[in-house]
Amino acid sequence: MFALRRWWNRHALKSGLIFLAVGSAVVLRQTDGFVLAEAYHWVTRPLQPGISREERLESSYVLELQQRLVELESQNRSLRQLVEYEDAQSSVSIPAAVIGRSADHWWQQAILNRGSREGVKPGYVVTGPGGLVGRIVAVSPSTSRVLLVSDPTSRVGAKVSRSRIMGYVRGQSNNRVIMEFFDKSPDVKPGDVVVTSSYSRLFPRDIPIGRIESLDLSKSPAPEATIQLSSPLPVLEWVVIHPFEASETVDDPLAPDSDSGRNSARP
């Protein structure tokens, strides 16, 4: 009895642990290793192959075909839109693809793949799926260069289509442009649609430009609004060139208070 007690004193901890280990092993065994399997599953989760090799190859092939289908569908849709859009416009407009951007950061320009060979001339107006894009400033036999409305030197006569408030739009090198009003307290609110004004010399009237995003009516000298352009200039792929004769030459001096669009070609 004494010997047994001494043994217990010496080995109590060890035997306790052994009992615990064996006990938990038995419990696991009885539950068919449920906890272990779960733990293994969580640890190796990143390494698990979802499906077999062949299935995976097959499914990626299906995926590829699906993606191709999506791409073709979207191409088809955008071309169809362009065709319908073009039908809605005057008959002689010229569709063109955007093939390049400005060769410098200080200008917002785009290069199109249609030029004087197709009858494009400087001053023609370029629109895209969302509305006004810009104005042709230079042509070569098979390319033309557009000064985008987002260029800091671009000026477009504009009006708010709901309340007919006049102003002009100037670019600021991103997809938002600033509209300055001629009125001191214009009747405008965020969400109003802005289109080119009928007094604009360099653009035909009523081409959509964008939507008013925010207003700063206390701005001096003229109240201002920030406009989100409706045509996605940074990602444009297709545009349409419309023949347009400016009503006066660009170099004519402007009366300071005239409501005239001016999208200046640089001097």
């Binding site: 390049g100 951007r101 400005s102 060769a103 410098d104 950061h105 200080w106 200008w107 320009q109 290069i111 400033v137 800091p152 030197t153 000026r155 100037r170 600021q172 090198s173 991103n174 940074p234 200046s264 640089r266 001097p267």
Partner: protein
């Protein structure tokens, strides 16, 4: 400058000379054509590497300031032709050409890609600053200036200068390395020092 082939620096056969000229001109044209393209992955905040600036730096690094200035003038005019003549790129590229040649890199820094990247970084900032100065002057002194206020100009300058400098310096070796190898090997007589 010793040629790796140990060729006598002169005379150069007319054929070799024409080849040198066409390689130089071809590289300029390549840089110009790359400028308006927006190759995916090359864009940062809508800004792309300033290829022509890299070319001017690569040209001027081992040449005299006057050669650098002339290259800057020619390439600047070409770039003007691709965008618009005002404000002009010639001024900024001439400054870049002269400064790069004045650095006399081979005297102080060992010839390597990293130092070229550093020079391009600095020069890109210089070039954008010269452009911003021109725009500001136009804004200050021209009655019918179409540019926005000075604050907006310099804010834009900050954004453009930084991203252009980073991108250009990263892409600089792609232009500098092959060109420099060619010039060292086949046209050492054209290099100063």
């Amino acid at each position: 400058m010793t040629s790796p082939l140990n060729l006598p620096p002169t005379p150069v056969s007319p054929r070799q000379r024409w080849l040198n000229i066409s390689v130089t001109v071809g590289s300029v044209l390549l840089c110009l054509i790359l400028s308006p393209s927006r190759i995916p992955g090359m864009e940062l905040l809508g800004v792309v590497p300033n290829w022509v600036l890299i070319w001017v730096v690569a040209w001027s690094v081992k040449r005299t300031p006057s050669q650098g200035a002339i290259a800057g003038l020619v390439v600047g005019l070409l770039q003007d032709a691709m965008t618009a003549p005002h404000p002009t790129h010639t001024l900024s590229l001439i400054v870049v050409g002269i400064l790069t040649a004045r650095l006399q890199k081979q005297r102080y820094i060992q010839e390597d890609i990293v130092s070229i990247a550093l020079i391009v970084f600095g020069m890109a900032v210089v070039a954008e600053t010269v452009m911003a100065l021109q725009v500001s002057l136009d804004r200050l002194f021209s009655e019918s200036s179409l540019y926005p206020s000075l604050g907006e100009i310099w804010q834009f300058h900050q954004r453009v200068a930084l991203s252009s400098a980073i991108l250009s310096s990263l892409w600089a070796p792609a232009v500098y390395y092959p060109l420099n190898r060619w010039w060292e090997r086949y046209a050492p007589q054209d290099l100063s020092s």
